[in-house]
Every structure is written in structure tokens, then in C-alpha cells.
Amino acid sequence: MRGWRLLVTLLLGSLVVSACGGPVELHGAVFQQPRQLDFRLTDSASGQPFRATDLEGKVALLFWGYTYCPDVCPTTLGEFKRVKAELGARAEDVRFVMITVDPERDTPDRLSRYVASFDPSFIGLWGDPAAIQQLAERYGIVAEKRAVADSSAGYLVDHTAMAFLVDKQGLLRAGYPLGVKVEDMAADVRALLAE
């Protein structure tokens, strides 16, 4: 009986501890030395230039993908959609961004329609192939075209499948692998909104 009571106490105790946690502890892989996000691309919806500074004052979730990708990219955008729903009205101060790794096939028009099919507020950013490659290299993002002989796809693009959390100052704060818990991402966004 005593052992059983101890077990219950321990279980309840561990629940309380995990609920408290630290003040700004993020769930994602935290970048110890956050880098400033800096780019000049094109907003696929308006065709206007879009700079990293256009995100300042907002918390952003950003990832690299392409519209032709049937699996990983819609999974990530679906996660973004659920994060937005989880945030409710707070999502007004959050931007959800996809940068194309396939600028040759992803015309701005196609890209904007693709991201809008998940949520009209989602932003698709386009740049010419050289600009995209340069940007990817600067941030250690893999974006490699790969010809696939036995596929009607022609070529596929191997790419980094992580979502990145950007704070209101434009600093890259954390990364999330594919399949991260939506609640964890939403909690981190809330933490940065409160900073």
C-alpha cells in the first residue's frame, strides 16, 4: 500500500515539474548563436520584393520546399496550418513562410497558389536559381536537383526538411525536424511572441 502511494505521489510530482519548466525554454533544436536572417526575394503573391526585414516585429516559421513535392512539403505546411489554428488570434503576429528550392518549375504564380491552398495568409518566396542557391548555401540548407531516370517527375529536389523559428528581431532561434509535435511548435511561437 505504501509503495503504491509513493508511486502516485511520484507521478503527480513529475506532472507538476514538467508543467512548470523554464521561462523561455524552446522545444526545437535551439541555435546557441542565433544568426540574423537576411535575404531579398520576391513575394510570389504580389510579385513585389520581399526582404527578411519585412518579417521584423513578427515571429515567423519558415521552411524550404517545392510545390512538386507530394509528401514532405505538404506535411510541413499542414503542420504550419495546425500551428496557426492552435495559436488562434495570436497568429496575427506570426508569419508562415515557404522559400522555394525549385525556382525553375515553381513560377511565382504557381508557388503563391500552392501556399494559399493551405492558408491564404501563407507566404511563398521566390528567387532566381542563383539567388536561391546562394541563400541556401549561406544558411547551410541543402537544395540539390536530382535527375530521376525511372520517374515521370523528370527531376526531384533533395532538400533540408526542417522548419525554422525566427524571432521578432529576425534571428533564427530554433529548428524542427519533420514530424515535430504541433503543440511544441505552437508553444515555442507563443514563447517568442511574449519576448
Binding site: 502516485v8 514532405v72 515521370s152 526538411a161
Partner: protein
């Protein structure tokens, strides 16, 4: 003390109940409607929880091409290929359960819903996703294989119309053992992980 004990007892009961619930949720559904009907001698392979991803048909600015009408007959044809490459993609997922003592495999998938249908997988390495066509998806004997986001999937290339929740994608899977399976995959948003 008596009171404290009864509180503890109810806590214990609640805990046991939640554990029971957790077990219930983890076990496969037993009463769901079958998503597949055996088209021939493939009854030993069961399809569960099939679903297709919503997608919007896009022509990539090239407009509707006659090639699209001919579907997979255009495989290998240069202009057909570029049209497929410019079209929209979707993916179908499911669990394939093999109740027999012999291993089997899906070797081909076909559907009227898209210009081409392929078996693909995603290899993840250091958070880099590398999608690749595969020649077959093995279904182990007395086992199962899961087609799920971030792994094996049936890729639809050049969908012929928008796929919206409520629609159904009809697929035919050809098995290594010779049979075929007809799968009706409802279009739905990706279930939460």
C-alpha cells in the same frame, strides 16, 4: 486518513483508466469499413486506413495539354513528361497487412486520377529529405508495411482534377504474388501525428 485513502484510490483508478484508454487508442481499429476490396486472389493482403492528400490541379502556366488526356500512355514521351512534371502531385497512404506466411510486395500502382502513378519513398538523412522512386514496397509475411508521410507513398503525378476532402481516389495495386487490390482512398487532411 480515511478521506486521504479514498482520494488516493480514486486517483489510482483514474490512472488505471487512462492507461486502459491509452492501450485502446494504440490498438488497430477493428470495426472500420474495409478500404479495399480484393479484385482477384489477393484477399490475404488487407488495406487499412487508406487516405489521399488534398491537392489543387495546376498547369504551371502551360495550359491544358492533349497529352494529359492520354494519361500514362504518355510515359517516356518528352512533352507528356514535361506536362506531368509541371502538373500537381498528391500522395496516397495506407497500411498493408499481410495475414499469410508468405512475403509479398506492391509492384505497381495505377489510377485514373493522375497522368502517372509511382511508388516512392523518402530517405531522411541529417534532416535532408531525399524522395526516390522504388520498384516495389515489401509486405513482410505475417506483418505489415505502413505507407505514411515521410516514408513510402503512392505518388500521383499530374492530377487530373482538384482533390478535395470528400473526394475519393481509386487505386489499383498490383502485388508480386499476382493479385490486385482495389483501394478507395478518401481525400482528407493529414491526420495529426
Amino acid at each position: 486518513m480515511q478521506y486521504a485513502r479514498s482520494v488516493l484510490c480514486s486517483l489510482g483508478f483514474a490512472l488505471a483508466l487512462s492507461l486502459l484508454c491509452a492501450c485502446g487508442a494504440a490498438s488497430p481499429p477493428t470495426s472500420s469499413l474495409p478500404a479495399a476490396t480484393p479484385a482477384s486472389s489477393a484477399a490475404a493482403i488487407r488495406v487499412e486506413n487508406a487516405w489521399a492528400r488534398p491537392a489543387t490541379k495546376m498547369d504551371g502556366g502551360m495550359g491544358e495539354s492533349a497529352d494529359m488526356q492520354h494519361g500514362s500512355e504518355q510515359e517516356g514521351h518528352a512533352s507528356g513528361m514535361s506536362e506531368m512534371a509541371m502538373g500537381s502531385t498528391s500522395a496516397v497512404y495506407m497500411r498493408l497487412v499481410n495475414a499469410t506466411a508468405s512475403p509479398d510486395a506492391v509492384v505497381r500502382a495505377a489510377s485514373e486520377a493522375a497522368a502517372a502513378v509511382e511508388l516512392h519513398t523518402v530517405e531522411m538523412e541529417n534532416n535532408v529529405a531525399r524522395m526516390r522512386p522504388v520498384s516495389q514496397i515489401d509486405i513482410p509475411a505475417n506483418g505489415m508495411v505502413e505507407l505514411k508521410p515521410g516514408g513510402f507513398h503512392v505518388m500521383l503525378l499530374g492530377i487530373k482534377q482538384d482533390l478535395e476532402p470528400g473526394d475519393t481516389v481509386a487505386l489499383t495495386l498490383t502485388l508480386q504474388s499476382g493479385g490486385t487490390l482495389n483501394v478507395d482512398a478518401p481525400v482528407q487532411e493529414q491526420p495529426a501525428q
